[in-house]
Amino acid sequence: MSNLTLFSVSDLLVTVLLTAIASIFPEPIRGWLTNPDLLLGLACLVFGALLLAASMLNTILLIWWERKLLGRFMDRRGAMHVGFAGLLQNFADGFKLFKKDTVQPREADALGFYAGPTIYMVTSLVLFGILPISSGWNSGALPLTLLLALAVFSFAPLFIFVSAWSSNNKYSLMGGMRSAAQMIAYEVPLLLAVVAVVIVAGSFDLTTIVYEQQNYWFWGPLFLALLVFVAGMLAEMERIPFDLPEAEAELVEGWNTEYGGMLFAFFMLADYLRALVGSILVVLLFLGGWTLPTWVPAAFTSFPLAGIFWFMVKTYLVFGLFVWIRASLPRVRTDQLLRVGWNRMIPLSLLSVFLAAVLVTAKCLPVFGCVPSPGG
């Protein structure tokens, strides 16, 4: 299992296909076709395509999950008449938006107007490529995956602001401004909360962090950091209670007011992609990634793709928590978010860093690991 990675699968696919094709041709062409560099490049392309498909499918499933879950929170049923239980609803939305006109306002700045959503989408996709979803998902262990992920994650407000500015709408502009202002509030505590995890795990590599959690998941010792991280993630994903940039009540649709058709679909998809990535990060950093506690019977962990399965279950449950929050809390105001960010979350995150340092130096971490390590 462990050597079957997504990349090796795509590599195998490309090799087999290309070798089969090459066998038809005479020697010089056959040699060029089976050139290992070409194989590697093609494998990378296939890998990317698979990654794209997986991320898109997951995102669309996530939207469905939110709609159904939110429906039940609100005492209704949610989408149910398009496809089985409404599963095809989001595909219908996507196809429809794909076909719709995209209107560019006359006074809008074309470059920013089109580049904003596109780059927003691309950065979100890149994020999905970085994260290890199971032991075999990622191509290779980069040493600084966590830092890279967080860096790419925080690009978004910039491009939100670009697209808001260039769509030449007062509501969009205010949404973009809020997005930029909001970033100041949550980025610092978010990173400090991650520092606590890094201190305990001793690595910036997400795979390593997950394997460090085989004895005990980090949410126990680092509960404070988890709270700060979840709150920061809510702000990062721009979900209620921190969805100020697209506060529907006062700023019509916020920064995407002027966007329709495919560009709007980009925004929607990227939003949920970021929500997915946020949930994944919570699972990776605090909930043990794709590992399960050792007291779980082996039958639950030994079937094919068990890692991905459990990882996805955890991710969707974490996202369910976000939906729950959305169903029960109102939106805060910009100045309140800033105040909460600087007055509450930063001290809390500093405290959690301090606690993590104490835990590590005092070597009292194993207290939380109530079961022996599976690797043993």
């Binding site: 039940r72 005492d75 209704r76 049923r77 149910m80 729950w324 929050i325």
Partner: protein, 259 residues
């Protein structure tokens, strides 16, 4: 008389509860609706269905005893052409002027039978017409779905209204009682010329023309030129539609209290 009550919030409690309490409420609702949300799956379940009667309870947030609720719903009209007497009261009483009386087959050529045609693009479903209908032939049913793609399809001719009647939808049972001291059609005898217009046009045939004795002309006095008959209204049959008043050429009929 009651005094004033100060609306006060509960004293502040543990601030951690302050986020937890709404979340707990939402979770409670989630658990409740996981079993059965209060949604009616509309094209498959219909509220006006008699099968709903009494089965769905308010305790779950589902609608209350729906069948009973629907008894006097005011939807599309049903018209029984057979019993319509063409009295024009529905068109008279319509505040939105959406009822036209159109000719339907079945009347004699001199007095064509006229029945209401309703434009649902103007109707405000107030029920004044069915309240005014003296024969109970124009009633309102529980049908409410009236989406069309052409504006002209919203005009329901008497035949279409009769089809609604024949489809046996539940109908509005409210029949308003007539007031005790109803006004009657009174006659101002000196003005009458005995022209028979009222008796001819009366939809219920409740007016009969009776002979009045022709007075002896005094010397020098000229008797009015008229037919020596006078209408007599049978109050128990009269539906008070006022047709006679409106057709009277001499304005000698009027509303009043019969002594």
């Amino acid at each position: 008389m009651g005094g004033a009550v100060e609306a006060k919030e509960k004293p502040n409690e543990n601030p951690i509860l302050w986020v937890a309490r709404p979340m707990a409420t939402a979770a409670k609702q989630f658990a409740k609706s996981l079993v059965r949300p209060s949604t009616i799956v509309y094209p498959f379940e219909r509220l006006e269905d008699p099968k709903f009667r009494g089965k769905v309870a308010v305790e779950s947030g589902r609608p209350i005893g729906v069948g009973e609720v629907w008894d006097n719903y005011r939807g599309v009209h049903a018209l029984n052409i057979a019993t319509c007497i063409s009295c024009n009261l529905c068109a008279f009483s319509c505040p939105d002027l959406c009822i036209d009386m159109v000719t339907v087959p079945g009347g004699d050529p001199k007095h064509p039978k006229k029945c209401p045609q309703i434009d649902y693009g103007k109707c405000s479903y107030c029920g004044f017409c069915s309240d005014a209908c003296p024969e109970g032939c124009l009633t309102m049913t529980t049908r409410y779905e009236l989406s069309v793609t052409k504006r002209a399809d919203m005009v329901y001719s008497p035949e279409r209204l009769h089809e609604v009647f024949r489809s046996k939808l539940p109908m509005n049972p409210i029949r308003l009682a007539r007031p005790e001291n109803e006004d009657a059609i009174l006659l101002d005898p000196p003005l009458c010329i005995g022209c028979n217009a009222c008796a001819r046009d009366c939809p219920t045939q409740c007016i009969t023309m009776l002979d009045v004795p022709k007075p002896d002309a005094k010397p020098g006095e000229k008797l009015p030129k008229r037919i020596w008959k006078e209408p007599v209204v049978n109050d128990s049959d009269c539906v008070r539609c006022g047709t006679c008043i409106s057709v009277c050429p001499k304005e000698c009929l009027f509303w009043g209290t019969r002594k």
